[in-house]
Amino acid sequence: MIDVVNLKKSFGDLDVLKDISISINKGEKVVVVGPSGSGKSTFLRCLNCMEDPTSGSIIFNGVDIADMNVDINIHRQKMGMVFQHFNLFNNKTVVQNIMLAPVYVEKKRMRKLKRKNPNGEAIKSTAQIKQEAHDQAMKLLERIGLQDKADCYPSSLSGGQKQRVAIVRSLAMNPDVILFDEPTSALDPEMVGEVLELMKELADSGMTMVVVTHEMGFAREIATRVLFMDEGKILEQAPPEEFFTNPKHPRLKDFLSKVL
């Protein structure tokens, strides 16, 4: 689903990613671990071109999205992203946060349909689009038990609630893959559980996930493959049992001895 070919990224003189190539298949849950400064967040942010790669290609569903001439927005709509600091829209209520992108995309599609409509598809009014997005958003909120917070602003939610809303916000676009950038690092310890629980649920439902995290227990439990990154390279990748019980690279052995 995602093929990374010879990805390089540098900030000025600093080479953060040094020639990374990897394939991520549909349904895989890839967990990326490594010391801080190893380039794992940059790697994840390159996957949806939040950072433009310096060279190399990211083939997503057959298209090289690292190409500057590709309309990146269309592809990002199919790649959800969850951030360390949630990045919920502060000026929108919880339900508006979830509805915003689906309504925008659907409205744009309807505008195109009005010009060219070969299959005679029914054109929805703005009110209809909003109603549908609202219904979907409420269903998603019910799934995480926050339906009574629908009309609250993000500032009134706890960290764990914010992150769960951020996760269902990306789900509202029906993405093919979701990228998680240290989703539990900014949370109070007692709120980490609820977020991991929801991510496990997602994993079980067959969602393709790429997760950068420091939660080794979580990696062991849900990953189908664990990557170890250091100094801008992937030093080792293996299924979790092998990764944690039988590490081969000395740098990984050292890392695991410190974090486990």
Partner: protein
Amino acid sequence: MNNFGLKIERFIEIFIDNGGYKEVLTGLQNTLKIAIIGLAIGIIIGTLIAVVRVLPKYRFFPRFLNGICSFYVAFFRGTPIVVQLLLSYYVALPLMGINLPSVTVAIVVFGLNSGAYISEIMRGGIMSVDGGQMEGGRAMGLPFSKTMISIVIPQAIKNILPTLGNEFITLIKETSVVSFVGALDLYVAFNRIGSNSYEFMVPYLVMALIYIVLVIIITGLVKLMERSLGKSDRRR
């Protein structure tokens, strides 16, 4: 002080019996028109310039636009508004062969002028919004423009509302220079009453009073707006 009583009587005579209040009303109307429409134009221009100035600059076109905007801001902040008024009314428009009423010219010049100031205020507002807000929108596949309009600018405006109120108050008071191009504003109206009665003390006092009342009303309105925009900050 018995003299002062006489002066008030004289003022009332001119103001009411001789119809001076009609000119004052027209002046008030013009003052408000120039300040309000000027502010609206200023907010639109200022927002556009601010967005250009925060655009990523590694391509030629944004850099080009940015250059134009820098020049615009430098010109309108670097010359007195009176000079801008005079240049527009007596130089630019006649050269172009256009004849416009002085109030219209004043509205446009005040709009262009406050646009330069508001662009810097707005740029500060946009920079005060957490970068994660833009990232959150872009990561979901929303284009830069949509994220800017729906997410970043509303939050920026909330942050700069007190300063915008300031700008509006400044505009109201600065309108008193439009007499340079012969527009009838609050100052001109009271000046005429003074000239007609050979008595300036009371007209100017009343004029100051009206300016203060205007500013107090605006301050109240800004507070109301702040409260309604502050909804998203309050914990419920």
